[in-house]
């Protein structure tokens, strides 16, 4: 396993996943547990759940439509309270800023909490190149880091690992006597990471929400590692995408009811921290430096695309993964990058480029379970359709531009395209003609029955039919049956 982006080998990835028995067991166990937990938590809210979802949606739409205003308000407040704000257009700018900050302050060890944003920009690698060791402190992320892998679920990064795997890993990497007891392994990680917390010069986190009116960063967790990361080292660096800002504190009364229930089925996560500014006296707790790094990294383009703007409303709860029939079978790694599942199939093509993740929007049955589960009512199936359209249009535009393709390949693509188009048109003409009169329809249906018998119910279009069963056609049509019964009566 390595960290190269593997979205282009999606087909090979999922084929491997489907025959991995251990992964299949882990996935069915995890997604079932999460789904049931979420159901119960939603039920406990009762009919207010739908009101909360609608309100969350409304807030995110309002914040998105006025993002320039709220980002300005948020960052002005952060700076007023002693924090520094850095605006980064892409991962390189963000990484360089954080790495040079570490270098300037002589930091050699950074502790990190789980943050999809830092995964997105591969901060750990950038820090390593700058001579700074970055240690993941969320237990799941720590396991993944020791194994040198990628997380396979947004909120449970190591669900693909068994306790035996973790025991092997801890024995090998941490030099401890092997145990498979989960309590003892957890205690072990606590001991090792405590020492890192005590030594670290820099704490790096993401941000679940950024409150414009107060300049507050809100972080949600269960383990306490985020609280450690933000209160022990003398520097706190928080990374956030431009879309994390919401207008008011009162908006949290909505999001903090939706997020834990959707993510882990909890009424409330064990810890929620509201962090505002830096300490004002040496005898106060908390870091004396706060750096808020605000990243675009492709998000302004999402904002500009009206069909896809709502991808920015995601609060990273992972509920859509657990209910997705595709994710349930192929797991997170098959998606080839850091955002798996339905929301990953929407985000990845936009963040990496549609041509690099062209398979992902097609890996969905469009059943709509993700849309039902989403606490912000994101219409994921519609966006998948839109991306399919954009990807196909892009292919065509490509073959028309033929910039880097040899002329014969370009010609072949063009002819194939032309042929496919006229074949499609002819098929629809034939369909229209057939459906026009009952007599034609009758004749066509009879022909179809004969053909189905001849091909033993398997049509010769292998790519489509290899994985689909054709419903057997009745020997007599309904009309024929009806007519013969009428005849008998009379």
């Amino acid at each position: 396993m390595n960290h190269e982006i593997q979205t282009e080998t999606f087909v090979e990835n999922y084929r491997r996943a489907l025959v991995n028995a251990q992964l299949q067991r882990a996935l069915s166990n995890a997604t079932a547990k999460f789904t049931i937990g979420r159901r119960l938590a939603v039920m406990s809210v009762g009919e207010d759940w739908e009101i909360l979802r609608a309100r969350a949606r409304e807030i995110k739409e309002h914040a998105g439509n006025n993002l320039d205003y709220y980002l300005d308000q948020f960052t002005t407040n952060v700076e007023r309270l002693g924090g520094r704000v850095f605006w980064a257009r892409d991962s390189a700018e963000a990484n360089n800023y954080i790495a040079s900050l570490a270098r300037e302050r002589g930091a050699t060890l950074a502790v990190k909490s789980k943050s999809m944003m830092t995964e997105e920009i591969e901060l750990n690698r950038a820090l390593a190149r700058a001579g700074v060791e970055a240690v993941e402190t969320d237990l799941g992320e720590y396991i993944i880091q020791l194994a040198d892998e990628r997380p396979s679920h947004i909120i449970a990064p190591a669900i693909h690992k068994t306790r035996g795997d973790v025991a092997d890993l801890f024995t090998e990497k941490l030099n401890f006597e092997r145990t498979e007891e989960i309590e003892r392994m957890t205690a072990l990680a606590r001991r090792v990471l405590r020492e890192r917390f005590a030594r670290a010069d820099m704490g790096v986190t993401g941000a679940n929400f950024a409150i414009a009116e107060t300049g507050t960063i809100v972080l949600v967790e269960n383990e306490g590692n985020i609280r450690m990361t933000t209160s022990l080292p003398r520097m706190h660096v928080a990374l956030m995408g431009i879309e994390k800002v919401i207008p008011r504190l009162e908006d949290l009364a909505v999001f903090l009811r939706l997020l834990p229930r959707s993510a882990s089925g909890q009424q409330m996560s064990a810890y929620v921290s509201f962090l505002t500014g830096v300490k004002r006296a040496a005898t106060e707790e908390g870091p004396d430096e706060l750096h808020v790094v605000i990243l675009d990294n492709g998000r302004v383009d999402m904002l500009a695309n009206e069909h896809l703007r709502e991808s920015l409303y995601c609060i990273r709860c992972g509920a859509c993964l657990n209910v997705c029939p595709v994710y349930q079978k192929i797991g997170g790694h098959a998606y080839g990058w850091i955002y798996p599942g339905p929301i990953g199939s929407v985000l990845t093509p936009q963040l990496l480029g549609r041509e690099r993740a062209a398979n992902l929007p097609f890996a969905s049955s469009l059943c709509g379970a993700c849309r039902e589960a989403c606490p912000v009512k994101i219409n994921i199936p519609d966006m998948l359709l839109r991306l399919r359209y954009e990807i196909k249009e892009g292919d065509e535009a490509d073959s028309q531009r033929h910039n880097d393709k040899p002329i014969e390949r370009w010609l072949f693509a063009k002819i194939k395209n032309r042929f496919a188009k006229s074949a499609e048109r002819a098929a629809f003409k034939l369909w229209a003609a057939t459906m026009k009169t009952p007599a034609r329809f009758e004749r066509a249906a009879r022909l179809a029955r004969l053909a189905a018998q001849a091909f033993d119910n398997r049509l010769p279009f292998a790519r489509w039919t290899a994985t689909r069963d054709l419903p057997p056609l009745a020997a007599r049509s309904f009309r024929e049956e009806w007519a013969s019964r009428e005849n008998k009566k009379s």
Binding site: N29, K33, D48, R55, H62, N65, N66, L67, D68, Y69, L71, D72, T75, L81, V85, W87, E93, D138, L139, A156, K161, T162, R163, I182, M185, R190, L193, R194, A198, T214, G215, N222, E223, G224, R227, M228, S231, L232, R234, R248, L249, E250, A253, Q267, M268, A270, Y271, V272, L275, T276, A282, T283, E284, E285, D288, I294, D296, V300, L303, A304
Partner: protein, 243 residues
């Protein structure tokens, strides 16, 4: 390289306008009000806390706090206890009592600073914090008091302006938290409305912390394990105006 003006300009372009305009805020959202007596709120709070593996005890006097703490202190060796500087704990005379029993009381940062040399205190407090951290990891119990409770979820809310709570409620393996039952509100919405009015209208506190049960993880095989980074035990002592 990106900067604020450049980024905001690109965002405006994406939204199809060339000037930032202050939006009309969304109308405030008022969820259904909860009609519950104080006693009902307190019972709900206790029930929810027990659901998340916290222990909750109702007490009616300062002596009961002491008795409860006594049951937590190790019998054989003197313990190190970190006690926050909250008004309620000072009034209960907890520190004096603990000291009499031979416990080693960890002072707050402020007290700690006055006992250290100017060298430690200089350098913007960096060394002070380092020495304080080394002391704090020795503590086996942390005692704080909460500013609010949320009945709906069994959540304790601690605000940094009122006491030094961040490390004391996090680093020691056992956290004991005192709460006045009159400060229990029904819902998260009530809490945010109240905390906003009482703490965020002027200068926002640097930290407001929600605590709902002990530290927990399910990262190995989704098996619940308590005390991964923070406390393994959370004890809540509920009182109404202890004298």
């Amino acid at each position: 390289m990106a900067d604020k003006q450049e980024t905001l300009a690109r965002i405006r372009a994406a939204l199809g306008r060339d000037k930032t305009i202050a939006p009309k805020p969304l109308a405030s959202f008022t969820p259904r009000a909860v009609n519950a007596t104080d006693e009902e709120l307190t019972s709900r709070f206790c029930l929810e806390l027990e659901r998340v593996s916290a222990r909750v005890t109702r007490i009616s006097s300062a002596d009961e706090i002491k008795n409860y703490l006594k049951s937590l202190l190790p019998k054989d060796a003197p313990a190190t206890v970190a006690v926050s500087d909250s008004r309620a704990l000072i009034d209960a005379g907890l520190r004096e009592w603990l000291a009499e029993r031979g416990a080693n009381i960890l002072p707050t940062l402020k007290e700690f600073a006055s006992s250290q040399s100017p060298r430690v205190n200089g350098n913007n407090g960096a060394e002070l914090m380092e020495s304080y951290k080394r002391e704090l990891v020795q503590a086996s119990i942390g005692v704080t008091s909460a500013d609010y409770g949320i009945a709906d979820t069994g959540t304790l809310v601690l605000v940094s302006g009122s006491e030094q709570h961040r490390l004391i409620s996090l680093v020691p393996p056992v956290h004991v938290c005192l709460l006045d039952s009159k400060r229990i509100v029904a819902t998260l919405h009530d809490l945010i409305t109240r905390a906003r009015a009482e703490h965020y209208s002027n200068r926002a506190p640097q930290a407001m912390t929600f605590i709902t049960g002990p530290s927990r993880t399910a990262d190995i095989e989704l098996t619940l394990t308590l005390g991964v980074h923070g406390p393994r035990e959370l004890h809540v002592l509920l009182h109404s105006h202890v004298q």
